[in-house]
Symmetry: C2
Subunit: 477 residues, 2 copies
């Protein structure tokens, strides 16, 4: 066994959450570092999770009428500057290409941090008549933002994402689209990632550069910190005016289009880790698990064991993603390894099990053991995967509820965050001064003005003036 | 009808092949230009073709044991320089990032032109023992090469591709992998793109920067020019030595790994256009056609026509990608539009057809019309698609055979290319001087030393010295 890689213990999340996170992404073989500062290598296991996320999101985009396109990786500086707010938001954090081959470029190109400007230029070219609308485009690609401090999946210099960009004839249609895609994201998080999210509107301070309104889904991590999980922006006609995207309507009048954009990133993998995983490593919802069940033969040298394990694999492979590990490592080692990798269900089968026409199923999340009959093991495993998927969501929802606190005063606000982090629900007057003061005092930022409003008090938690809305606050990644 | 986009005639390919090509990519809505020099926007219809190519290639990669990963978009200058031949080949044609945000970087980063150096650095990190081998990785991404003159799909500043990178314990395994992937490409071209290819080895002059041997598939375009359609490289241990990628073998000795890389690009779409398409626009093999059949209702205002067309659509949709165009354009307009877009089969159905329980199928490639019974129209359409896929390959193969010429002297060589372009088969002594002389005299480059050798004469076509091998030559894209 000397050459086998040890499955080493990882830092406990209670001891050091940040180190625990880093241990999980490394030990579960999700990423590796490279000599490129702030950029990560997504390893096969991590990329397989991303492929499952992509596939299921892409299906939902196509079902809602969207088409994929590909835009250039570069944006000329003059194009980036066309929309004033947008360039102010992004110019400080882009990578600049100044030389091509051995020549200095006449105009610098930035590596796309987001592609609004490219889509707008294209729409100005291809949209003439109301018959050309709506344009419902999406792009899967990588983008670059020159971040100072980075963490795998959560904040990196380069990351993978999708960016939807749409153009509509009316403001109403753009508003519908903005909300439709927010709902697609929220449903995806719930049904696929088993992560419950709060849907709401960003305050003006937290709005996307160039947007009229930014909608967001926010989720709560295991350590009580918030994570912005996806955003959907309504641009109104701002970009259309800057880029001259006009169409002739049915009355033959020139009108500006109304636009939206929306995106989620590889950050979703970070959310999955920080919501579901534990001190034994990754815990994956079955819907995005590259291996949904792993079969571990016990005493595999004994006659019939590997044959039976192979037979079960073939049967399970008809409906789920299954792997048989018949390597010469000891079962205990294999258990730790697949626990680290978050494989939802382990199937143990040894000579005694075969004698009794049974196998033992072990859940990754609860480690519960269930003995099942081999005759209908396909159903047993599938049902267990469904149950696990459902219960991960229930557990995450319960955790969020337990860690969501209502406060009425700044004292309560600060006390709560000193005691235990979580979502803070508090009333707000709508002034950015209060938002800034809260951040300065508590470190918490406004996460969103949720669609589901509650009345906690009449007064702004910060200034005491009449409150306009209830806001979710939290320290955020 | 005033507002409808006219389906304009395109330049004839015999008149001006280059203009015909540009017309097809634009008028079939495959690409659009942007203000980024040499970069193309791949529009929904073009991207849908790429998605079908990706999906079917990716399946073949996974069936042969490969896993997908994602590497950073940037390569630090010092990393690019680690392998001497490699940097010499690529440094003159890369884009350099010199600034991040507002700061000048201590070290320049290039936007990846290819990712050997990143994979090598990663392999040096993760490969320790023979148990870690082989590593069979692939990446789907975009790369940038600072080309002076560009053409959509064929040569652009940025293009989409996949790059496979593998590491093996032995030279034999690396050699097997190099050839395995060349065969995967060749079979894919034949079975999916309906393009026959010549498999062979590149001469030293045409070899990839840093490779010990480069294998290639070469195809012949409609205008008689050759297109390098995919390459597979055996690196031997060159990169492993430069990057220190070593493993301990079973006898506990340190050994260098043996590596390969292989790639195909969006250029495949260019090949499909230049092999199959015609003066009416694009012709797509059914296997990569985003719409395999389009249903055009005739006299659709008459009772029952749209109902019947809708019913047929539902039935066909169970097995193929089908679209019903019930817009208010005239049928003739629709015919031209879908011919331009290369939809393989058109289904016409009008009141008389319904009366006779029939529909008319029209092949895009030959424009042949076939009347079929509605009862088993699913089978009729599927069989026609299979037939079309097969016959496109036959036609392309016949075209290539008709345009492949054997020559024994330089005079014949030049005469042939002046008369009609095509593949030239001629003997070669193996000296780069003759290769250079041939290029200078005729404009043709060595395409490959084919696996299937023929004996045309004993002498090199250029110098008359004893020939080592028969080589395919041609003017190339």
């Amino acid at each position: 066994m000397a050459n086998e890689k040890l499955v080493q213990a990882i830092t406990s999340m209670n001891e050091d959450f940040a180190q625990w996170y880093t241990d999980v992404v490394k030990k579960a073989d999700l990423i590796d570092y490279s000599s490129v500062r702030g950029c990560m290598i997504i390893r096969p296991y991590g990329y397989a999770i991303w492929e499952l996320i992509q596939k299921q999101l892409d299906e939902r985009f196509k079902e809602t009428g969207h088409e994929n396109v590909y835009m250039p990786v570069f944006i000329p500086e003059s194009l980036l500057q066309k929309e004033k707010d947008h360039v102010e938001g992004f110019a400080p954090e882009v990578a600049w290409v100044t030389h091509g081959g051995n020549e200095k470029l006449a105009e610098r190109l930035c590596v796309r941090p987001t592609s609004e400007t490219l889509f707008c230029e294209h729409y100005a070219n291809i949209v003439q008549s109301y018959r050309d609308l709506p344009k419902l485009y999406n792009q899967w690609c990588s983008v670059v933002r020159w971040e100072k401090t980075t963490r795998p999946f959560l904040r990196s210099l380069e990351f993978l994402w999708q960016e939807g960009h749409t153009a509509h004839a009316t403001a109403e249609e753009a508003q519908e689209e903005t909300q439709r895609m927010l709902n697609v994201y929220a449903d995806f998080c719930k049904d696929v990632l088993a992560i419950p999210v709060i849907k709401g509107i960003k305050t003006e301070k937290e709005r996307f550069a160039g947007a009229e309104e930014t909608y967001t889904i926010e989720s709560l991590m295991h350590d009580g910190k918030a994570l912005q999980t996806g955003t959907s922006h309504n641009f109104g006609s701002g970009f259309a005016k800057a880029f001259g995207i006009q169409y002739t309507d049915k009355e033959n009048k020139l009108q500006y289009v109304h636009q939206t954009s929306w995106g989620v990133t590889t950050r979703l993998i970070g959310a999955v880790i920080m919501v579901h995983s534990d001190d034994n490593g990754l815990v994956l919802p079955p819907a995005i698990a590259p291996v949904q069940a792993v079969i571990i033969p016990i005493a595999q040298h004994k006659e019939g064991v590997l044959d039976k394990a192979g037979e079960i694999k073939e049967r399970l492979a008809k409906t789920i993603r299954v792997k048989l590990d018949d390597s010469d490592k000891k079962p205990g080692w294999k258990y730790s390894e697949y626990e680290m990798k978050g494989v939802p269900v382990r199937v143990e089968i040894g000579p005694k099990d075969i004698e009794n026409n049974q196998a033992v199923l072990v859940r990754r999340d609860t480690r519960e053991k269930i003995t099942v009959n081999l005759d209908n093991i396909e159903n047993s495993v599938s049902q267990l995967l469904d149950k696990l998927q459902k219960e991960l969501l229930e557990k995450a929802t319960a955790h969020r509820e337990e860690n969501t606190f209502k406060v009425q005063t700044m004292e309560e606000f600060e006390d709560q965050l000193n005691k235990k982090q979580g979502f803070i629900k508090a009333m707000w007057c709508g002034d950015v001064e209060c938002e800034n003061a809260i951040k300065e005092k508590t470190g918490a930022t406004s996460r969103c003005i949720p669609f589901e409003q509650e009345h906690i008090s009449d007064k702004c938690v910060c200034c005491g003036k009449p409150a306009k809305s209830m806001v979710y606050w939290g320290k955020a990644y």
